[in-house]
Symmetry: C2
Subunit: 191 residues, 2 copies
């Protein structure tokens, strides 16, 4: 599916091309792995059309998005041996949205998995902090690319406020996970 | 619609009858006002069938649920003069779910509305704390009813950990809001 996704042309998350991170694709919706997952199996599901708000989705797009969330959620819960899921949409900038393109966070959960971070509900702070915010990570990645090219990054200032801050994963690691998840999606019943 | 909801028979949220809090009803889905909204217009959308997990929903139920979320979200954003929405499902107990019945939180957001509580993302802590947790509030209400009857409450221990803790709203206030929102739903296009 990663290859099929590529064959279908570039897939955008906001202004970013994320084709190689995509592990599942329908005519209206895609699912992608994260640069810095909060927990193992933290993935995103988005409409292929770049619209900022849930209210901008057509009924067909909204339906396909949520059926994909349900199906992908079932898969990541199984593959990552989880027992629950956090499903969340920051629908608009005043709700914390960082990239103006609808995206649903799906985060597999296990009992006590975040006790060392403050408990079950720490997931939300992490989702909204530096970790889990793929938009900022994409900027960070672009910034790093710019830095390597000796240019000034477009956005600056990502201080390491958290000693436990995760490193962004390599493209190779993300592509390997996307390929694995694409295979696992094939095992999921359509309904 | 509040009356129509009643006419259709009792509507359950987990073990609780919430019929008079319901402001919108489809054959598969309902929307209800909150006992202690985190922010004005904080409502819940649930399947009528009492199932704990999104994966338990049939495709028709999942579709109807999310189309209802989209429609109700558009309405509360308009009625409460908001600019964004937080949409969240705690799908399973290890994700923080307190009542084993799928429910989608819809929370209208405005710029800087939670600055006094710690910023945009404080909504998640509030959603998961004492405030916003309708399940615990229903227990609390039952406990209060039991207390008034001179009996021991079924669950104890809701310390006032937050000086700013909201009081549960009266049934009259919730029914008035449900009636108002039912009228507003009639103004929303079906698509």
């Amino acid at each position: 599916m990663a290859l099929a996704a590529k064959a279908a042309g570039p897939i955008y998350f906001g202004p970013f091309v994320v084709t190689s991170q995509v592990f599942y694709l329908t005519p209206l919706t895609y699912a992608l792995v994260n640069l810095k997952p909060i927990l193992p199996g933290h993935v995103l599901v988005s409409p292929r059309r770049r619209v900022p708000r849930v209210a901008d989705l057509t009924p067909d797009e909204a339906t396909d998005l949520f059926l994909t969330v349900r199906r992908v959620g079932r898969m990541v819960e199984r593959v990552y041996s989880a027992s629950s899921l956090n499903i969340a949409i920051q629908d608009g900038v005043d709700a914390g949205q960082s990239v103006p393109h609808v995206h649903t966070h799906i985060i597999p959960r296990r009992r006590s998995d975040l006790d060392h971070k403050g408990g079950t509900d720490a997931v939300y702070q992490l989702m909204n902090g530096e970790e889990g915010d793929i938009g900022r990570f994409q900027w960070q990645m672009m910034e790093e690319m710019a830095r390597q090219e000796g240019e000034q990054g477009r956005r600056t200032g990502f201080p390491a406020v958290d000693n436990d801050a995760r490193k962004p994963r390599s493209m190779e690691e993300m592509e390997a996970e996307a390929a694995m998840l694409a295979k696992e999606m094939e095992k999921e019943p359509l309904d």
